[in-house]
Each structure stands twice: as C-alpha cells, then as structure tokens.
Subunit: 169 residues, 2 copies
C-alpha cells in the first residue's frame, strides 16, 4: 500500500473515533496527521493535506496546543510556525484523560456530591429513597472511576503498563 494512502486511511479512522468521543473531527485528523509525519508541518502544509481552510486549521491547532498534544517548532531562517505531535502515546493518553476528567467528570461529581448532601423535600418517601439511592450509587461509582483515572494520570508509563499486564495476567 502506498504511504499516502495508508496515512489517509489512518487519519480517517482516527477522525471518526474522535468525533464519536465528542472531539471535533478536524482536531483528531490534524492530530493523526502530525502523529504520522516524520517532520513538523506548517499550517500551510496541514491545510493542503487535509483540504481545510486557514481558519479551521488555526482554530484546531490552537485547541491541540491547549490540550498539550502538539507543540510549535521553528526552523532556522524560516518565519513559519511548524507543528509536531508528541509521539509518546502513553503521555498523550494521559493528557487527554486529564483534560476530559477536568472538563467532564469533575463537574458531574460536583453535582452528585452536592445532591448527596442536600436534604430532599416534597416527594413521597419512596420517591425520595429511590432518588437518594441512585445518587449515592452514581456518586460512589463516579468517584471511584475518578480516583482510578487520577492514578493513571500521575502514573509512570512503564509502571502502569506492567501493573496492567499483571491484571490481564
């Protein structure tokens, strides 16, 4: 298979995965493109490879910078900015996980924690009990998931990897 074709296939697949996980398709695709590029790419190059506008490229490159997944590089004697993706996939996974935890899990936990503490009025007893049981259960589960995710974020790749392999035995 031709290298360009293989790249396209991967970029498409990665873009689809991203969009199913609530991440902008173009953002995933730019990330995928940079992951499989031996050299850093300029905005211009990215625009051409993915057939997207300058504004779109700029916006999603910024988002990827915000997530810490790519970095800017400069070539001597060239005013353009070049972008490169971090190539350590564990590190990348940790950054994505950390960002999503902050944006998504933590707000929910906050609501669940608050609701768990509140004293609930105005329904019949059975309804209140059902409500509280559900919130309790979800808060417990979400809290544990959050803890595990926290450990993962702070972990060293090799250690975590070995630990998981032990689990898979």
């Amino acid at each position: 298979m031709d290298l360009e074709e293989a790249k396209k296939k991967f970029i498409h697949s990665w873009g689809t995965l991203g969009s199913q996980w609530g991440i902008n398709r173009t953002m995933s695709q730019i990330h995928a493109l940079l992951l499989v590029s031996a050299q850093p790419l300029s905005t211009e190059g990215i625009m051409q490879d993915l057939n997207i506008s300058r504004g779109n490229a700029n916006m999603n490159l910024r988002a990827l910078m915000d997530w810490g997944l790519i970095s800017k590089e400069h070539k001597p004697g060239d005013r353009k900015e070049y972008f490169a993706a971090g190539k350590d996939i564990w590190e990348t996974a940790r950054k994505i996980t950390a960002e999503r935890r902050k944006r998504e899990i933590e707000p929910v936990l906050q609501v669940l924690d608050q609701l768990k503490k509140e004293s609930i009025t105005g329904g019949n007893k059975e309804d209140i009990m059902a409500f509280q049981a559900t919130i309790q259960g979800l808060d417990d589960f979400t809290g544990k998931a959050n803890d595990i995710v926290g450990k993962f974020i702070k972990s060293d790749s090799n250690w975590f990897y070995k630990t998981l392999m032990k689990l898979l035995h």
Copy 2:
C-alpha cells in the same frame, strides 16, 4: 431542596455528560429520569417530564433498549408500556462499555491491525519508519486498552474494583 428540583438538576447534569461523550442528550436524560424514578414510567410520562415529542421519546427509548439499559414493563389491566432503568450502576457501566467497544474501539483496531501488517511503499525511508512506529505504538496501546475493557466487561463488580485499587495502591 425539592425532589423535583433535585431530579431536574441531576437529569440536566447527566444529559450534559452524555452529550460530551457522544451520546444523544435526550437519550441520557431519559436514562437519568428513569434512574431516579421509583416507578416505571410510560412514554406519556416521559414526554411530559422532559418536554419532548412522542417521536423523540420513542426513538430514544428504543435506543436505550438496544443498549440494554432499560426494560419494558407492563401493569396489569393497562395497555401502556412502562419503562424502567436497570438500577445496578456497575452493570450499566459494563453494558455501556461493551457497546462502545464494539462500535468504536474495534473498528479502529481493525484498521490499525491491517495497516500494521501492510507493507508500505512509495515514501522516503524516514517517513515510512515514522508511520510504522506510530501505527505500531497506537495498535499496541489500543489493543491493551481493549483487553482491559474486555476484562472489565466480564468482571464481577467488586473483584474488578478491588483488584484495580490494590494494584494502583
């Protein structure tokens, strides 16, 4: 806080989480509503509680059935269908995880596996090496993640949690 207000808060929060994870907001909200309801609800009741149309309710109830997250119930002497959410949150998490693995992780793994096996032509050596290294790394990582997820899906709730917490100390 009033029970109805507390429910609304939870339903809203759960709906937001769902939509950020690529799940239809209404689907998450119906699920949340059923989670905090002591009694099964009819389509009619769901429509009223969430202010949504019959078509929307029907469509998302079906999706929740497909995911195995809710079940139909019948009351004697009543022709309406009533819906109830499974209340075991670990079981629910396992079902969601299983479904998403099937829909999302496995297709990507298939592409990665295929690309890993392909012999790549038509680029310079450095580019081909970079491409293959990335695919290799991602396939490895995704495969491991997939294995772990598989363990989780098959696991007993307590065993999985205890094991993870022990390993992560």
